[in-house]
């Protein structure tokens, strides 16, 4: 049981490929798992990774609906394609989209994926309300919505309640990328962005600080920014964290 306020390290990875960001997640997650297994005094650091990806479509563990022919079709659009171990179906990530990967030990918070997803949704809903006066909401389909248009997609993985993957909030991403897929497998639903909803340009830089504030409120934690401009140094710090 945690005493006092929890600490989450914020690392802004900037523009990074999906695969490389996933490696950073795995490294961070591995430290958590080593700590759980009581290996070598390792310490996992609850971390919030922020990143923007070059254009990439990703699918979750339900891959049967995306056979190789579909993969080829999607790659021909000029984007990358990745099969992942998260929940959820197909989605798009690209410039202008704030992607957040919290790598948390839910043992420090609440060991429930349902609870965790609800906190992520409420983080974004609060951000929309407080910062932009937008009345975004949840529906029976996971994510954050404005009517029948999805503003923020969510898909995560949990192993021993250590989380990876996370959410993707459309700031000023080119929404036409979503025209080539059925986002999250939901026919008849659309996508939107903060730029579209507010009628003015909203960048990922604009959104970052208010997003982090809402995250810290929803997860009742302090968020500490760590300079992550030197990736080699970041990876060393993650690997060497000890109790």
């Amino acid at each position: 049981m945690c005493v006092g306020r929890k600490l989450v390290i914020l690392r802004n990875l900037g523009r990074m490929s999906y695969q490389q960001a996933f490696q950073v997640q795995k490294l961070t997650s591995r430290q958590h798992l080593k700590e759980l297994a009581k290996k070598d005094g390792c310490k996992g650091l609850d971390t919030l990774l922020i990143v923007e990806h070059p254009p990439v479509y990703t699918v979750g563990i339900r891959t049967a609906g995306y056979p190789p022919e579909e993969e080829e079709r999607i790659k021909s659009l000029g984007a990358d394609f990745c099969r992942t171990d998260r929940g959820g179906l197909i989605t798009f990530h690209g410039p202008g989209q704030l992607v957040a990967y919290p790598v948390l030990n839910l043992g420090h918070f609440k060991k429930s994926m349902k609870w965790y997803i609800e906190r992520l949704q409420q983080t974004v809903i609060k951000l929309c309300d407080v910062e932009y006066g937008i009345d975004a909401h949840t529906t029976e389909d996971i994510g954050v919505w404005m009517g029948s248009k999805k503003l923020c997609a969510i898909g995560v993985h949990g192993t021993h309640f250590i989380t990876t993957h996370g959410l993707a909030l459309n700031c000023n991403v080119d929404l036409k990328w979503f025209n080539h897929i059925v986002p999250c497998g939901l026919e008849g639903k659309g996508v939107t962005s903060l730029t579209e909803l507010t009628g003015r340009e909203v960048t990922t830089t604009d959104v970052l600080q208010p997003f982090v504030k809402c995250f810290s409120e929803e997860f009742e934690c302090d968020v500490k920014f760590e300079d992550s401009s030197n990736m080699e140094e970041v990876l060393t710090v993650i690997k060497q964290a000890v109790l």
Binding site: G60, I61, R62, D85, R86, G87, G88, K111, S112, M113, K114, W115, Y116, I117, I142, G143, I154, G155, V156, H157, G158, T159, H160
Partner: protein, 175 residues
Amino acid sequence: MASFVLVARCARTFLPHATRVGRSSSTAVGRTLHASRWFSCSTNILTHNVPADLKYSKEHEWIRVEGNTSTIGISDYAQDKLGDVVFVELPNLDAEFKENDQCGTLESVKAASDIYCPVSGKVTERNETLEKDPSLINSSCYENGWLFKVELANPDEISSLLDAEGYIKFLEEQD
């Protein structure tokens, strides 16, 4: 089914239900299992069923042992914390696992959660009905929502799993 909700600490004060549910079962291999009884444990006003005739892992899997075969699923507590299950990735037939190996995945609320094999052994059967109806894991986690069966490689491992009382105590520590 009559439901008991216990307000006091569960480990020492739980009582069996007035109505017995489930089936009486016995095994030919040196042990007689008692008639299935349900114990309810109240943690944070939620009621989680913990059948007395099963063993449990700290990863919230249950195991029913019949001879050298075991049936494995996830507990009522686990299905509640996961949310509505929409997809199950079960281990392959004949796959062999060591105790606590990751052996599959469940997806619920856009979260893919790993499942672990609580014992060492070989997979002899999978619950194929879950492909069409994964919600059985939520609605019938101890019966129709079973996940897979394992031929035990090391039956001694069963004794190190939690019994119902031990699992309830473990759940109390979670919340």
